[in-house]
Amino acid sequence: MSKAPKDFLLNDLSGVLHGFPSKRASLICFVKEDCETCNTAAPVLEALKKAHGDAVDVLVIAQSGEANAIFSERHTLSMPVLDDTSCKTAFEWDIESVPSVFWIDDAGDIKSHFEGFIRADWEALAAEMSNDTAQAAAQIDWASLPEWRPGCGSKHLDPSIHNKLRAAAENSPIHARQIDIASSDDVAEFMFDQGFSDGLPLVPPTPERVMRMLSGTQRDPQEVVAAVPPNMGEATVEKIAINAVMAGCKPEYLPVVIAAVEAACTDEFNIHGVTATTMGASPVMVVNGPIRDKIGMNKGLGALGAGNRANATIGRALRLVVRNVGGASTGGVERSTLGNPMKFTMCFAEHEERSPWPALHVERGFDAQDSVVTLFAMTSGPMHIVDQRSRSPHEIADTLGLGLDGVFSPKMRNIPVDAVLVVCPEHIDTLMKDGEFSKDALRAHIQNVTARPDAEQSVDAALRSDTKSDAPAGAKFASSEYIHIVVAGSEAGKFSSAFHGWVTGATGSLSVSKKIGV
């Protein structure tokens, strides 16, 4: 037979410690006060104690706190009733239900083990104990006992307790430093004082919450997802989960946050520059694919904020990872002249179902059934583009184009800078009124409507080096490829919107898409 799982040292009802193993054989039974089957088993345990207590240790391990004493009194138990309210011993012994019985010899080997109340099991146990101790069998009226009663689930399997115990166990997936906050301290204030916050309150990342968060991914908690600038701190899955808890994420959002961290920390996206620039850039996250609906992201009414937990907290979690793991604090490496509210969070889902075009991720080479997050480095937005009067496709395309004329500044033409145009459903309907109006056609229209051949060509030299050549003279963008187009928003309202980019290209940031894993 196998060895007993684990040593223990537990207090009885009078506070006296009892250890296992002892040098004697042991009958150990886990119970809960409110479990009917445990109450059925208690008199049998007492009879076994009376018959063999001088030769073996009979121990009851109880999970019910103060009610342990009630259980003991109810059955006038003479054996020690040990307190395992924390359920640590039940967890370590890996039982499933109570009563859970172990008959263990003096060498620590389990001779028999069963759970619940199957009368035949208990009769066999009584016979075995009698045989092993060479003592007369316990006097038990077996006929008065039920033949079969199922046990109750052990309390340690309650999810909140189980997560706490797993987090504290020797082989815990949790490796992060544990911080004990004194009871005289306010947890929320403590986290502000430590600099963990973006300025808003945080959810305390307790071990049990982080365990629950980790259940949202199949990845190893210690897998390093990325090195996060500026400190190049290692973002393990666990560290990302901790920040996701603080941001208010649900476990099912975690794969999106992980993919976003991966994307942000690529050389192409350059989160260091995005964070540090005095211009004040922030990641803008667009989520595509089946995961949008699976985790309840908002692609419709109010998609760009606020009120949807997934949109709000996924974007925030990425920012907190950059702040806490990367060490980018405002006024430290983060040095934006004015900052912008997108630095708290900016994440939304594309309304693929309402789009006449291939979805953003499909356009970028992914399969429609893939779930993908795409990050853009944007300095401002959403900037609304209002048009309630245009009735023809070209009129509305004119408006969308002119709505982008202010990127950086209307003075600046032919700029090699990304913009993300978010077209609302009503504008889409007008655009498509006379048949297909492709994204490329819209991009060309934007370039043409913004072309100002006579305008002063005011572009920063650093930007000029990236300039492409396909643009009309004086057009807003150096190339139509800088214009990214997605669809989002509710059915009502002729209001599209746009995000204006940062320095696009090798010297700044390139948009990056990452497939969202499991």
Partner: protein
């Protein structure tokens, strides 16, 4: 007490927490005079108040050689070995 997990890359130590309050006064308390003028007057008053409020508490007095420098290691260790609590008086 709440336990949370460190969300950072753990390169900076976490600020030390206030020791858990016991809710009672017993044992040995050190009163440390940092040798700034009239610090002893304040500590005399504190000692009298403690004697009234917690007569079972025993008080030991110590003084630093100078307020201008940190407490010498030997004195710190002596206080640590001999006492359960410490009140340090500033003055002026």
């Amino acid at each position: 007490m709440t336990t949370i997990l460190d969300p950072t890359d753990e390169r900076v130590p976490v600020e030390r927490q206030v020791t858990t309050r016991t809710g009672s006064l017993a044992g040995v308390i050190a009163l440390l005079d940092i040798s700034k003028p009239r610090g002893n007057v304040l500590l005399d008053e504190v000692e009298q108040l403690l004697a009234k409020a917690a007569p079972e508490l025993s008080v030991r007095r110590y003084s630093k050689p100078t307020y201008a420098k940190p407490c010498p290691d030997a004195l710190r260790h002596q206080i640590r070995d001999e006492c359960d609590y410490l009140v340090e008086a500033l003055a002026d």
